[in-house]
Amino acid sequence: MSEMWINMGPQHPMTHGLWNLRVKIDGELIVDADPEMGYLHRGIEKISEDRHYNEVVTLMDRCCYVAGMSWEHLYILASEQALSIAPPERAEYIRTMADEFQRLGSHLMWYAAFVQDLGLMSPFLYGMRDRDLILDLFQSFTGARMTYEYMRVGGVRNDLPPGFTDRARKVMDWLVDRFREYDALCLGSDIFRKRCDGLGVLSQAQCVELGVTGPMLRSAGSSRDLRKDRPYSAYDRLEFDVARADAGDVTARYLVRMEEMRQSVRIVRQILDWLDTHPGPVMAERVPRWLGAPYAPIGREDYLLKRRYPKGVGFSAIEEPHGEAQAYVVNEGGEHPYRVKFRSPVFANLSAAKHYLVGYHVADIPPIMGSVDICVGECDR
């Protein structure tokens, strides 16, 4: 058979979102690959310029539908820097906890999608079932299961409900047990190991060159983790290890993500202990009226505000579940951000598709792309 291009996407079971992977195959062998993104572009950065600072948070939830809280955190950190507002300590801890919940939720979602690509249907449902507990937790303190709208400039919307920490502890205990089950289903299976070992290898140098970050980079032997290297919120006060593997293949990525989930549980437990003993405000004291909950700016006053409020720029970079996300917010003094720019880790990770696909088989595409952990929402924004 001669070489031919096939389109895997934009509507294809492998894509997990709206994007297109064009692969050139020779029989079952991949000789070229060309990812096409942009099907889900909604212009979030541009819309943000027409939204008040807190209203952009609603867009952040829709930016990445599996890690909405991380993106809220990212944006809020940059905005706070641009507006020179500092959140109270309790809010920082709550944010960190929410971030780690989101990491757990996102990784569980990744696990479900990944094993389903391999043809394993039951772990898919186990993963989704356990993610549901995380969503329950989210719902109990934010009021929504996926689109949280929880973080605000200067803090978080509301404090945790009574009894929350006990429930969260129970969920964490339950999850730790489940991780053992996941490992038995995947690592304990000879077929899984045969499918995933030595697949989609990306060396550390290649990762650095291509801008590949997150678990993919850490699976290649690097220990770069922004939570350690550039601590934000409460991470510098918490104890955890950076998950890391050396092989750079699909199994290594699996190992890194699983270890990250365990570390997340460890972090969350520390935070829950802290939160039990440190009550306090969750919103900053000095927040301008048009920024702080619950009001939105009204009327024709913005020209006055422009005069009053100091300008500034904010930059933030956080370790999102998919990799390193960065945000840049320019405050020109108005009630809206003047410019918002995001750096999506998924975009970089996906763009390198050619480098980790060529040379493998067509049947390897689902596990390899699954191990990348794609969220097209944030990739296209």
Binding site: M4, M8, G119, M121, L125, L185, H361, P366
Partner: protein, 374 residues
């Protein structure tokens, strides 16, 4: 005890024709003559067999859905009928109502004949495999050989329908399917050879009846394992479902099919799954023969053999479902490597072991079993 399907059909035919003859004028009394009764009985026999087998297949699909649901911590179909048993009929009706869209560039003849022939050749198998003594189309000295020969038609039709739908995914799925089925045909047949060596017969009824005292699955354990693995590949079920690996090939060779033609494929897949389970039970697990400790009041019940056979079949199929719930699918090259490098030597070894069993047929380990070795 010896109620045969044919005798049932014959009595029904006689009753129908007798009733017709009694109302007809004397000139028409000839309709109840022996040749006509025989002809109608054969038709009825075929109809009963077909309907019963199809119903069995549909119940099998329901069984898989429910069982898989529990493996996956959910319930499976549950709203249509009792515990969702009518869900598959509803699905079938829905598919029947749907239009079959043929791609413009597809080859008409192949596109239509592929699924139809696939279904028909799968259904023929029901006429050959006995589910109880007397419940098949008569004495076929080479029924095992015939069944396996018809069973291996499938790659041809799959490939025809895959190629004629003119879709890259279909084509790749079809080629994988052909390669896989041909690769696994060899160990499948070799493991059957082990059974034939021990039983000395190609007639399934004889093979079953010789397992009255012990199942071939015991001494021929290796052959059983090879047979089940090869059968999984032949049935294209997880972990060997790569011809329709939905993750990369959308739906493999039936990507372009919709409506009733898709239903044909689905149904044939399950017909083959049922037939595969039948064969495992027939060849290795003693078929309809009851263990000796079962009281004779139960064994003398007319349909006891069939019930016993079906229980075994569903347990065997349950194991297939269990495998599906727990394992990911393998890759094409790994599958073929396992097929040619592992399965065939193992199958050959099982043949050697079977020869050993035949040689040692009177060793006290197995007891001196009459009928062993033909």
């Amino acid at each position: 005890m010896t109620v045969t399907l044919y005798s049932v059909a014959q009595s029904i035919a006689q009753a129908i024709l007798g009733a017709i003859a009694s109302v007809l004028p004397p000139a028409g009394r000839g309709v109840a003559s022996a040749p006509v009764v025989t002809g109608l009985a054969v038709l009825l026999f075929a109809a009963i067999l077909l309907v019963a087998s199809m119903l069995n297949t549909i119940v099998l699909i329901w069984f898989e859905r429910k069982l898989l649901g529990r493996f996956m911590d959910r319930r499976g179909a549950m709203h249509v009928g009792f515990a969702g048993i009518l869900q598959n009929f509803a699905d079938g009706l829905k598919l029947a109502r749907k239009d079959t869209v043929r791609p413009r560039e597809a080859d008409t003849l192949g596109f239509w004949t592929g699924p139809t022939a696939y279904l028909v050749t799968s259904l023929i198998l029901f006429g050959i495999l006995p589910v109880s003594s007397g419940w098949n189309s008569g004495v076929l000295p080479l029924s095992l050989l015939l069944a396996l020969a018809i069973f291996s038609f499938a790659p041809l039709f799959i490939f025809v329908s895959a190629w004629s739908s003119n879709n890259k995914y279909s084509l790749m799925g079809g080629m994988r399917s052909a390669a896989q089925m041909i690769a696994y045909e060899v160990p499948l047949l070799l493991s059957v050879v082990a059974v034939v060596l021990v039983s000395g017969s190609f007639d399934l009824t004889t093979i079953v009846e010789q397992q009255q005292n012990y199942w071939y699955g015991g001494p021929l354990l290796l052959a059983l394992i090879v047979f089940v693995a090869a059968m999984l590949a032949e049935m294209e079920r997880i972990p060997f479902d790569l011809p329709e690996a939905e993750a990369e090939l959308v739906e493999g060779w039936n990507t372009e099919y919709g409506g009733m033609l898709f239903a044909f494929f689905m149904l044939s897949d399950y017909v083959r799954a049922l037939v595969g389970s039948y064969l495992v039970v027939l060849l290795f697990l003693g078929g309809w023969t009851m263990p000796t400790w079962v009281p004779s009041t139960l064994t003398s019940f007319p349909l006891a053999g069939i019930v016993w056979f079906m229980i075994k079949t569903y347990i065997v199929f349950g194991v297939f479902v269990w495998v599906r719930a727990a394992l990911p699918r393998v890759r094409t090259d790994q599958l073929l490597r396992v097929g040619w490098n592992r399965m065939i030597p193992l199958a050959l070894l099982s043949v050697v072991l079977a020869a050993g069993v035949v040689y040692a047929k009177c060793l006290p380990v197995f007891g001196c079993v009459p009928g062993l070795g033909g």
